[in-house]
């Protein structure tokens, strides 16, 4: 990362500036642009259910990327927050009769609290050890999900909280209708996009990038690195929990698999596929990942060999992910 003992009078690579105004424009309008694209999604994808999944996993990957791409922390435990959001929403609606908006709020806050606990415990470890502590703590959450079956339904999954109608400002919307459902959940996604965009533009956004770039220097500049990381962890957990609540509303079912480490793994892969440390990357990654699975699994039961090969090719030839590579091309 640092240039050690090599006296260089001239830079190795001629400095280049992102001269493209296009990128600047895209960046400043990124939230509205994303929403515009999301509006079209259900009409270009093979199914509405898939479009809703793009929303959910896009938000999930975006929340994850706040921690991974922007703060530089590789967590293997984000399934816990996704799952917490989903379970809390489902339990609130099904067992306490909380209205859907209240349940969503509870889910998000609950996910945030869990992130505070897991983040607080793990933030002091580094590198792959951090990844493994988050994995281990998330597995404990999985275990709770499995064992507390009177609350969570255990391995059978949480059921019995179908939201058939959304009542809003006196209007009753049929939530079982796929189009209605998509656009209602899109509002959540839009809020998440707006929130993340603001966070990234904020001084805090600058601070986490500084920590990702150089933790030592950031600390020497006066940033409390642990605290900043923890806040980033919690914000990331909040967004992932929101994705969880969306998933609960969408399926009216919470499978125990949401807490499984494979879900955590999938989040990482989606983010990397799209391109970490870019705003659109995670969404693009989620989109590509889900589309690939959907399309190939319809085509052959051996779809995993295709998906696996595509991953390999991506790492070798497009290491910045889909969106990252696109950006690099445009800037050049």
């Amino acid at each position: 990362m640092t240039t050690k003992s090599v006296p260089l009078a001239t830079p190795v690579v001629p400095a280049k500036r992102p001269s493209s105004n296009l990128i600047a424009t895209i960046t400043s309008w990124r939230v509205l642009l994303s929403i515009a694209i999301l509006c079209l999604l259900p009409w270009v994808l093979p199914s509405k259910a898939l479009a809703v999944n793009v929303l959910i996993y896009g938000v999930l990957a975006m929340g994850y990327n706040l921690l991974f791409g922007y703060t530089g922390l590789l967590s293997f435990g984000h399934a816990a927050f996704f799952g917490a959001g989903a379970y809390i929403t489902g339990i609130a609606i099904g067992q306490f009769g909380v209205p859907w908006y209240g349940a969503v709020l509870l889910g998000v806050v609950g996910g945030g609290v869990l992130a505070f606990v897991i983040g607080g415990l793990s933030i002091r470890t580094r590198g792959i050890y951090f990844s493994m502590v988050t994995l281990a703590l998330a597995q404990l959450v999985y275990h709770v999900g499995l064992q507390a079956s009177s609350w969570t339904g255990g391995e059978n999954g949480l059921r019995g909280f179908t939201v058939a109608k959304i009542d809003l400002f006196g209007v009753s919307i049929n939530f079982l209708d796929p189009v209605n459902k998509y656009y209602i959940l899109m509002v959540f996604a839009a809020l998440a996009l707006w929130f993340v965009s603001r966070v990234l533009n904020s001084p805090f956004g600058a601070a986490i990038e500084a920590i990702r770039e150089n933790e030592t220097r950031a600390r020497a500049c006066g940033y409390d690195v642990e605290r900043t990381k923890l806040l980033s962890f919690v914000l990331s957990g909040l967004i992932c929990a929101l994705a969880g609540t969306m998933s609960a509303l969408h399926l009216a079912f919470v499978p125990l698999d949401v807490l499984h480490y494979q879900t955590s793994g999938m989040i990482v892969m989606m983010t990397l596929l799209g391109g970490a440390s870019s705003f659109f990357g995670p969404f693009v990654g989620a989109f590509a990942f889900l589309l690939m699975e959907d399309v190939f699994s319809l085509w052959t039961s051996h779809w995993q060999i295709i998906v696996g090969s595509i991953f390999i090719l991506f790492v070798l030839f497009l290491p910045k992910g889909i969106w990252g590579t696109f950006l690099a091309k445009v800037i050049r």
Binding site: L121, R126, V133, A136, L137, I305, F311, I312
Partner: protein
């Protein structure tokens, strides 16, 4: 609860620990020396089991399978290193991780295509069937044999790393690759070999596990996690750490089985979380 039960339970823990050690070694070595997080470790373990079975069915002898399959798959590992992993050195650690993740998908599916989704019977070699009376209880002879193999492999590895020039180069290379280049050592050949050995060990674990478990395309997925846990508890890059951690996890699982066997999987994660919270670099990890 009588003392005999606790003793046999302790012994089961050590035996299970030996299995965990052999599954973790390959991951630990590649991780420690090359800094590559090999997500295909579990898949290669599974390929090892199938490879062993295949060789055994061709030759009619388990022993050929045990000997030949790990070497064969070790060579395959070298091809992987040369073809896929080598271009990634110097890039971020995420890249090999993502690549080997993709590779594990490919390997598992390839095995499904070739051998089908069903498991395949992997009979215990006839010389090693049956149970032995240990005085404190009965234990399968085959599992005792596995403990011996693990001990021999560890001894050979230790000798190779500590008593040979190659070992010296590997250990020095793990610390500072640039030094090796300055000294004129062809580090890429060393890494090729290390990767091959790591993959070969994963395959050996698979062959050994074959007669104990069902052989099927998904048998590697939990193994990957177990291997990670053991490696991390021991401390990255520490062979001794992996051995101690493997035994520790094995004993933790068997002791848990005395009062709440259903916690057998989760106890491993709880142990890891606990150890890392107290020692953030594992038991034998180097401090920064």
């Amino acid at each position: 609860m009588d003392a005999e039960l606790i003793l046999i339970q302790l012994f089961s823990g050590v035996a299970l620990g030996a299995i965990l050690v052999i599954t973790a070694l390959g991951l630990s070595i590649i991780f420690g020396m090359l800094g590559v997080v090999n997500f295909a470790h579990g898949a290669l373990f599974m390929v090892g089991a199938y490879g062993g079975l295949w060789v055994a069915s061709l030759t009619g002898s388990f022993w050929w399978g045990l000997l030949v399959a790990p070497i064969m798959i070790g060579l395959f590992g070298m091809i992987i290193e040369w073809l896929l992993v080598r271009p990634l050195y110097g890039r971020s650690v995420d890249d090999p991780l993502l690549l080997t993740f993709g590779l594990s998908y490919v390997l598992v599916e390839a095995v499904r295509i070739v051998f089908g989704n069903d498991g395949i019977p992997f009979p215990t070699p006839s010389q090693l069937t049956g149970v032995a009376n240990l005085g404190i209880g009965y234990f399968p002879i085959y599992r005792l044999f596995v403990i011996v193999v693990v001990a021999v492999v560890l001894l050979l590895l230790w000798l190779a790393l500590e008593k040979t020039k190659f070992g010296l180069i590997v250990r020095a290379g793990a610390r500072d690759p640039t030094i090796m280049r300055v000294l004129g050592v062809n580090i890429s050949k060393v890494w090729l070999l290390v990767f091959g050995v790591g993959v070969g060990l994963a395959a050996l674990g698979g062959v050994l596990a074959g007669p104990m478990r069902t052989v099927n395309p998904e048998m590697g997925s939990l193994v990957l996690i177990e291997a990670f846990v053991v490696t991390v508890i021991g401390g990255l890059g520490s062979l001794l750490g992996s051995v101690v951690a493997g035994l520790l996890v094995g004993i933790a699982i068997s002791m848990t089985a005395l009062f709440a066997p259903e916690l057998g999987t989760i106890v491993m994660f709880a142990l890891m979380a606990l150890i890392l919270l107290v020692r953030p670099r594992g038991l034998f990890g180097k401090t920064a």
